[in-house]
Structure formats: C-alpha cells, structure tokens
C-alpha cells in the first residue's frame, strides 16, 4: 500500500504476497516460533522415553551416566552457550547497514563454534566406540537398563547433531547471501529466523547435557 516508499533494500527482502516488510518479518517470526514449538515436541518423545526408563532403572542410568565423557560434554556445552550468545548479536546488529559486517562476522564465528562442537563430538564418539559403549553384544556395562541409557545417548546426541548441521548451514548461507547483498541483509526476516533456530539447538542441548552427562558423578 505504500509502494512508493519502499526502499531497494526492502524490495530485495520482500516476498509475495507481502507488501510491507515489517509485517512480513512478524509473520516469519511467528512461523518460526510455531516451528520451534513443533521441534520441542519432536524431542519430547526422546525426553519422555529417557525419563521413563530412568524411573525404571535408576541405578543402571546412574552407572551408565558416569561412563560418558564430562570433558567433552562440558566443553561442548560451553561452546554452544558462547555460540548462541554470538548468534544472538546478529539480529541486534544486522538491521543497521553500518553493522552489517560485524553481524556477518558473528555469523561466521557462530558457525565455526558449531563446527568445533561437531569435531569434539566426533572425537567423543570415537572414544565411546573404543570403550564399547555402543549397545550390542560386546557392550561394556552389564546392568539391565544401561544399554537403554546409551541408546538414548546415541539417539539424543545424533539427532541434536543433525539439527546443529542444519543450523551451521543456515548460518553460513545467511552470511554468504548477506555479503552478496548487504541491503537485503538489513531487511530480510531470515536473520531473525536463523538466530531463533540456533537458539533452539542450544536449548535442546542444555537439557541433553543435564540428563546425559551429569548423572553418576562423584560416586
């Protein structure tokens, strides 16, 4: 309705059927939060299963928890917390043309921290395999239920890692596209949406860390 006053940057970020960039941004944000609610429910099945089995086999879960690597888990938690603080700066800065470069730098740092997380995860997985922590015939522990703990360990961390990979791709894509068209970058709803997704990945990990790495410590 205000076609005459639309700036080139806004025009680059506008998508059909929207005529007003502010409303488009609101819409994307609402859609993203609805999607995040959906994602939470996706993980809820895992959390519910974990909780049920832990209530059935508290001792086995306690023993099995002690077998995870707190160093890897703790370091990765710190990395992810830092990355989500870094990514949180992006939507706060990206809207100012003068801070576009800063915002894109933050995107790259966030993505690199995500990669660092995955690298550590890879080393951790290797160690786990060496220690026979994959449920199966030569599984390390013998208490009934310990295998279940590690089934959930693998499922939770792997499914989280898939989300993290998607998140890294989204951050990198936004940084590349933003460098190509800095005007678009100041206006596009993709900035907010990407940052929200990254926040969710961190929220999920916060819970994963507490239920996977912390049980069974200190004897």
């Amino acid at each position: 309705m205000t076609a005459a006053r639309i700036t080139p940057a806004e025009k680059a970020a506008l998508r059909e059927p929207w005529e007003d960039i502010a409303r488009q941004r609101q819409a994307v944000e609402l859609g993203m939060w609805a999607f995040l609610a959906s994602e939470l429910l996706f993980f809820s099945g895992l959390f519910a299963g974990y909780t049920i089995y832990r209530s059935i086999y508290p001792q086995a879960f306690w023993e099995a928890g002690a077998e995870t690597s707190l160093w890897f888990g703790g370091a990765n938690t710190a990395i992810l917390l830092i990355s989500s603080a870094v990514v949180a700066l992006v939507p706060r800065a990206a809207r100012w043309p003068g801070l576009g470069r800063f915002a894109r730098a933050m995107l790259w740092i966030g993505a690199l921290l995500g990669v660092a997380f995955l690298v550590l995860k890879g080393f951790e997985y290797r160690e786990d395999f060496h220690e026979h922590l994959w449920p199966g015939p030569d599984f390390k522990l013998h208490a009934e239920g310990a295998e279940l703990f590690f089934s959930f360990y693998w499922c939770l961390t792997a499914i989280h890692a898939v989300h993290l990979v998607v998140g890294i791709c989204l951050l990198a894509r936004l940084a590349v596209a933003g460098a190509r068209d800095p005007g678009w970058f100041t206006e596009t709803p993709a900035v907010q949406a990407t940052a929200l997704y990254w926040g969710l990945v961190d929220i999920i990990w916060t819970v994963v860390f507490v239920i996977i790495y912390l049980p069974g410590r200190g004897g």
Binding site: T2, A22, L81, V210
Partner: protein
C-alpha cells in the same frame, strides 16, 4: 507503517552497546554451567542433585529464550506458541506418567 520502523543512521548503537547485555547473560550462563558440573560431584542424594541440575537447566533455557532469542520483546501470540511447546510436553509427561508412575 514502514516509515515508522525505518531506522536513521544516528540511532545506530555501538558494537559495545549491542554486546553488553548478551555478554553478561553469557557470563551468568557459563557460571551456571560450572555450578551444575560442580554440583554433580557433591556427596548428596542423587535426586537432590538431579533436581538442582534441572532447575539450573530451566534457568538456562529461560535466559536463552528470553534474552538471546528476544522473547522479552515479543507479543502475546508468540509467547503463546512458545509456551504451547512446553505445555504440550508437560501434557505428554503428565499423562504418560499416569501409566508408568502407577504400573506394576
């Protein structure tokens, strides 16, 4: 509409201003992480430890959602959808434990 939301150059915050708040929150979160790890080694009953861990985790989640993800600035609709995610998890847990809590 968009004119009101349009930003003028002299309103632009400095990097310092942008970083300050998330940085403080990050500091709090890292300290909380340290506390949580430390608490895991305390010689107290496991359920007390777990309860503490979960409370710290809930606080962490709240800070990430409200500050990092800027929930603090959002209207009721978005808050409702975010809350729905958590409420529906609560429904799943509550009713599933009406079975497992009483089974056997």
């Amino acid at each position: 509409m968009s004119a009101a939301g349009r930003r003028r150059h002299d309103d632009m915050p400095t990097v310092r201003e942008i970083v300050r708040r998330p940085a403080w929150v990050l500091l709090v979160l890292l300290v909380a992480l340290g506390l949580n790890i430390g608490a895991a080694f305390l010689p107290i009953a496991p359920f007390l430890k777990t309860a503490f861990h979960l409370i710290v985790a809930a606080g962490t989640v709240a800070l990430i959602a409200f500050i990092f993800m800027e929930m603090e600035k959002k209207g009721p609709t978005i808050r409702l959808f975010a809350a729905a995610g958590f409420i529906w998890i609560a429904i799943l847990f509550l009713l599933i434990f009406s079975d497992y809590g009483i089974r056997r």
